[in-house]
C-alpha cells in the first residue's frame, strides 16, 4: 500500500482529453485516403492494378476506393501523387455503400441512431464482443479502449460477458465457417432492440482472407449492421469516434 501511493503519483493521470481535444497520432499514421481526381490521368490503372485487395475500381472514370476492403497498406500511392493517406482517423459509417470513397469526395461519417434507440442506448451501452475469425489485432485494439488512456466507461459504454446483458454485438473477423453458428446463436441471445457493430476489414468484407472458401466475407451477409469501422485494425480512436458518433455524442 505504501508503495502503491507514490507510484500512483508517479504514473500520473493518464486519461486523454478526447473527445474535447483531438488525439495526437504518430506522424506516419495512415488515415482516410485522399484521392485527387485532378492529378489522375484518365487512362492510368496504377492504383487499380497495385491494390493487393482489389479494393480500387474506376467508376465512370473516377477512382473509387472501397474502404471496407482497404487495409491501408498504401500500395496504391502512385507516381502521379493522386492518392495520399491523411492523418484523419475518423472512418466509421452507418452503411456499407458509404465506404465507397470516390475521387474528390469526402466520407459521410456515421450519423446518430434514431431518437428512440438513442434514448435507450445514448447514455448506457453494453456490448458483447465476438471474434469470428479475427486475428486478435481488432480484438486487442477494442480491448485497449478499457485502459485508463481511453476509459470507455466514462462514455457509459461497457463490455459485458453475457449476450443476455448486452445491447449490441461488436463483431471482428470475417465469420469463418466454424464460427457462423456460434455468432448467430450469440446474436439470437441478445434482447431486442439490438445493435451490431463491425470492426475491421475482415468483419466488413472478409479482409485479407476473403478469397478463402472457409473464411467468410464479413458480417453483413448474416446480420443487419448498424456501424462499420474500417481499418486493419481500426485505430482505437477510429473505433471510439465511431461509437460516440453512433450514440450522438460527437
Amino acid at each position: 500500500m505504501l508503495k502503491i501511493i507514490p507510484e500512483r503519483f508517479r504514473q500520473g493521470y493518464r486519461t486523454s482529453a478526447f473527445p474535447r481535444r483531438e488525439p495526437q497520432l504518430s506522424a506516419r499514421f495512415r488515415g482516410v485516403p485522399q484521392i485527387d481526381g485532378g492529378k489522375c490521368p484518365p487512362t492510368c490503372h496504377y492504383c487499380v492494378d497495385n491494390c493487393p485487395m482489389q479494393a480500387i475500381t474506376r467508376v465512370a472514370g473516377k477512382v473509387v476506393i472501397d474502404l471496407g476492403r482497404c487495409l491501408f497498406c498504401a500500395k496504391c500511392v502512385c507516381p502521379h501523387d493522386a492518392i495520399s493517406f491523411s492523418a484523419d482517423y475518423r472512418l466509421a459509417v452507418r452503411e456499407r455503400r458509404q465506404l465507397q470513397l470516390s475521387a474528390d469526395d469526402s466520407l459521410e461519417l456515421a450519423q446518430p441512431l434514431a431518437d428512440e434507440l438513442r434514448r435507450l442506448f445514448g447514455r448506457s451501452l453494453k456490448l458483447r464482443q465476438v471474434s469470428a475469425g479475427g486475428c486478435n489485432a481488432c480484438e486487442a485494439d477494442f480491448n485497449v479502449l478499457g485502459v485508463p488512456t481511453f476509459d470507455l466507461g466514462r462514455f457509459g459504454i461497457q463490455v459485458v460477458a453475457s449476450p443476455r446483458h448486452a445491447d449490441g454485438l461488436l463483431v471482428t473477423g470475417p465469420v469463418t465457417a466454424n464460427m457462423r453458428a456460434a455468432l448467430l446463436d450469440t446474436y439470437a441471445a441478445l434482447p431486442e432492440p439490438r445493435l451490431v457493430i463491425v470492426s475491421g476489414a475482415c468483419a466488413i468484407s472478409g479482409g485479407p482472407f476473403a478469397a478463402s472458401a472457409v473464411a467468410g466475407n464479413g458480417v453483413d451477409e448474416l446480420l443487419p449492421v448498424d456501424l462499420y469501422v474500417p481499418g486493419c485494425p481500426p485505430h482505437p480512436y477510429t473505433l471510439l469516434d465511431g461509437l460516440l458518433r453512433l450514440l450522438g455524442r460527437r
Partner: protein, 498 residues
Amino acid sequence: MVDSAVRISNNDVVALADVQLWPLPRFIAAIDVELAGGARVVSYFAHHGGTAKVELWCVLAHDDRGELMVLRSHSDAEFPSLAARHPQIQLFEREIYEQFSLVPVGHPWLKPIRFEPSWRDHAASAAVIGDFTPYQVAGEEIHEVAVGPVHAGVIEPGHFRFQCHGEEVKHLEISLGFQHRGVEHLLVGGPTAATLLQMEALAGDTTIGHTSAYCQLCESLGGVKITPAAARLRAIALELERLANHVGDVGALSGDTGFLTTASYCGSIRGNILNLSADICGNRFGRGLLRPGGVNFAVDEALAQDLLEKLDAIEDETNGAIALFYDSPSVLARMDGVGCVSMAVAAELGLVGPAARASGLVRDVRQHYPGVADDDFTAAEVENAGDVQARALVRRREIAASFALVRQRLQQLPPGEVALPVASLLPEHIGVALVEGWRGEIVHVAITDDAGRFARYKVVDPSFHNWSGLAMALRGQQISDFPLCNKSFNLSYCGFDL
C-alpha cells in the same frame, strides 16, 4: 541410418532433388531415433507430391548444434504413429490426418484439430466444429464443465472441457478450430500481392514475428541478403512486439490476481509501446513495416532520438508499474505453485518460448538459430519452477532484456538502404525459417514448384505446441485457477487455427 539425412541451418534452402525420398519405415525409424536422442519436431506435414502418393516432410531441430534435419517420405493411405512414444508429435500427426486423410496408425488421440475439410478427399464431409468425443473421467461426484466457443471477455473463441471432481480439475481438453480461415490452403500458388498482408494478419499480435519468417523465406529462396540497416530495424520491431505483449500480459495477470493497480498501468503502457511501432511504420501492430527484401520505412537520426527518449520514459513507467506486482506478497502467493508444468512434461510436449523457458528448458531461436541481427543477443531467460509465477518471472526478465536490446539497437543504427528487390523464388526448393516470436518459436516452411511458386506453405505458430502445456498445467488445480493459468501462457487461437 540418419547420417545421410540433409542438415541445414536456419534460413537455408535445399533443392528438392537433394532430399532423398526415404521408404516410410526408414523415415519413421529415423524420426523415432532422433526424438529419443533429444531432437525436437519443429515441423511435420504432408504435401501433394506429383504422384498419387502424399509426401511426408519432417523438420527436426538439434538445438545444441543449431542444426535442422530435413526428412522426406511418402505414403498413400497410412503411416505409423509415434505419438504414444513422443507426445510432442501427436498434433502434427492429427493435422496430417485431417488435411490429407493419411491415417497415423496407432495414434492414441485421433481427433480433429481444426475441423477443416480434407485437402485430398473432397468427397469426405468435414467434421462438424465442436462435434468430438471428449475424454471423460468417470466416477461418483465427477462433473463436466463446458466453456466456449464464445466465452467471457474480449477474447478469441475456443472450447474448453473440464473434467472435475469438486473444484479440482482432473483433466482439461481444449478443442479449437473456430478461427480457421484456411490460411495454408490460400497460400498455395503464391506468393501473390495479397500474401504479405495475409502474413501480417496470420496472428495479429505477432504481426512482426510471422511476417519476419515469411520475408526470411522469400529472401533465402530468392537469393537476397538484406542490408544490415533493414535487419536491425526488423530486430527492433520484433523486440518491440515482445515488449508490448509481455507488458500487456503482466497487466492481464495482475488483473486476474485481482491486483488492479498494475493491470491499469500496464494496459496503457502497452499502448505506448505499440505507438512506438506506429512511429516507425504508421501502424500499432507493425503492419506495413516489413517486406521481402527489407523494410518499407527508414529510421533517421531524429526519429531514432525521439524513439529513444520515449523508450526511456516507457521503461521507467514499466519498471514502476510491474515492481508493485512482483513485490506484493499476496500476488506472489496467488501465483506460487499454481499451474505447474515440470521440465520433463514440458520437454515431452515440445513446449517452446517463455512457457518452455519457465520450466527450465533453454529454448530460444535467438540463441540456437540466430538471425543476422541477433549478434547482440546474450542468453535465454530461464526459470525452473514451471508454475504461473515462473512464467511471470520469465516475462519480467524478458521485458528488461528487450528494453536493453531495443535501446542498444536504436543507438547503433547502421546507415544505408533498407530495401532490396527480391528476384523470383528458386524453383523446386524447400526453405525453412525460424523466428523467436514473443510466444516462442515460429516456423515457416515453403516448398516451391517448378515455376517458383509455393506448392506448399507450412506455418507452425508457437501456440501449436503450447496449448497442450496449458491443458497439463490445469491438472490437479482448481477450476478458478484457469484464467490465471491461461493468461500466463496467453496463447493464440488464430495462430493455431490458421
